[in-house]
């Protein structure tokens, strides 16, 4: 077994595409980002969770009976879209990161001057340009809607809106990192499923109002550390340097610390 493993490693090494030393230029990354943004937003892996979220929350419309206001109903719909975008961010970025390998393009792309990091950076840029911009719009619109619902208005503020945008970026970064390291198409869906079914989503919430008692500073630190950690993890797949793995360890370590520290003393 050791011999066959050694043979497999030797085969992989002898077939490996010699890497490109060029650093991805900003112009290349931005141009790729524009294309990626369009495809991230149009991909069924992004649109279907939104449709699912809308359908799910549509059932909640009118639960307040005749007292249910239009604003409250809109709030439910905004919630559906918001959750759909969060789930879709993981799935669509995961698909985009997998695409070159899934479509058997690693050989062709290996012959081109732009390094593999340019493609990863392109997906990250597409995440910011496409999903990030959409998240800003959704966060703003949801803020306007929720502000008109008496029961919710007190919980809505810039903190809530900005953490939604950061959460979309963080989940997108997770999707890219998983896509770069896990070859199968099930990586993204498994992240979503594991997240929900392990209860992690409740223990370490992505979005929580300041009124819940969550440590605001620690929560921002948590979201930023997740973005930085998983983005660096994705790039570490393209060029495995010790420096990158140190950054991954440090940022994900900070994320764990922040996840613990952000929780209110008595729990949420």
């Amino acid at each position: 077994m050791v011999a066959s493993l050694r043979t497999a490693i030797d085969d992989a090494r002898s077939s490996a595409v010699p890497s490109s030393t060029a650093r991805p230029s900003g112009a290349v990354v931005f141009a790729l980002g524009r294309i990626e943004a369009k495809h991230l937003l149009r991909h069924p892996a992004f649109l279907l969770p939104i449709a699912f979220g809308l359908l799910l929350f549509r059932g909640a419309i009118g639960v307040g009976g005749s007292s249910s206001s239009m604003a409250l109903n809109l709030a439910w719909l905004a919630g559906g879209v918001s959750i759909g975008v969060l789930i879709g961010a993981v799935l669509t970025t995961n698909v985009a990161a997998l695409r070159p390998r899934r479509d058997h393009l690693t050989e062709l792309y290996g012959s081109l001057p732009a390094p593999a990091e340019a493609r990863t950076a392109g997906v990250m840029t597409g995440l910011v340009l496409g999903l990030g911009s959409l998240a800003v719009v959704i966060a703003g619109a949801t803020w306007l809607v929720l502000d008109r619902v008496d029961e919710l208005a007190e919980h809505v503020d810039l903190f809530l809106a900005s953490q939604y945008v950061l959460s979309v970026l963080a989940l997108g970064a997770v999707g890219v990192a998983v896509g770069r390291w896990v070859p199968g198409v099930l990586g993204g869906p498994l992240v979503v499923i594991a997240h929900v079914f392990t209860g992690l989503i409740w223990i370490v919430p992505w979005i929580a109002p300041a009124s819940s008692g969550i440590g605001v500073g620690w929560h921002f630190a948590y979201l930023l550390a997740v973005i930085a950690g998983f983005a660096t993890l994705a790039f570490a797949r393209d060029r495995r340097t010790a420096q990158r793995f140190v950054v991954v360890a440090a940022t994900l370590g900070l994320a764990v610390l922040a996840a613990v520290e952000q929780a209110p003393p008595g729990g949420y």
């Binding site: 010699p18 490109s20 479509d103 062709l108 012959s111 081109l112």
Partner: protein, 288 residues
Amino acid sequence: MSAPTIEIDDVHKRFGHTTALRGVTFDAATGITGLLGPNGAGKTTLLRMMATVLAPDDGRLRLLGWDPRVADERLAIRRRLGYMPQEPGFHRSFTAFEFIDYVAILKEMTDRRARHDEVRRVLGVVDLEGVSDRKIKALSGGMRRRVALAQSMLGDPDLLVLDEPTAGLDPEQRLRFREIVSERTSDRTVVLSTHQTEDVAALCQRIVVMLDGQVLFEGTPQELTDVAEGRVWLAEQRAAGARLSWRTANGAHRNIGEAPPGADLVAPTLEDGYLLLVGDRALSEAAA
């Protein structure tokens, strides 16, 4: 021959227990060089090395004057290289235009307007302007190969490496391919592999025949044709000494091998020369 743009000297490559190349040596200059050989001869391995996506285990390889083992020189090669792999992949959800545009960006064409003009140019060269906004998954196999060919021509590269570019093309498309590739080869180097000896005869100034990871022949199409000189004849039936024989449209048997005295010899083709060359080696190996 002008100064070589491809220099390959005693190149070896192994994959596990399989030896793909065993001491391959040849040079290629500007113009079109065709690689011929049966499946498993090592053509694709060699072309992948010329495309800088595979490193030799041993030996010397220089492309456009640079050494692909040196990272900076490899980058310089990639900036002047066009490559069409044997089994080109595609982003099926992209349109033909989007896919070639994506490749163009990875070729560091960052000026959007100039890049789009170049994408339209190469799509025009392969006659795909009319379907440029159609998704690749909706294109036929032949159209997809033309998309792959189009991307390889982005930026008018100095070195064009094409692995079986005519596979899956209909006769009309193959003729169009010859027209495309033969243009502007006076200052460009094109290396292509194919099983179509007609393409090689029609296009290539030089031919390299490979077998079992070695170069069996290197020369001009005429020199390969000459291998069969005096060894192709027509007869009413399959001749006893014929290595290969088939019934032609007019009913006569075309025999290839050692012609008997008084045989009705006919002018050989490049394919005859190739078949005899590969067949001779197979026979000598069997005898050994």
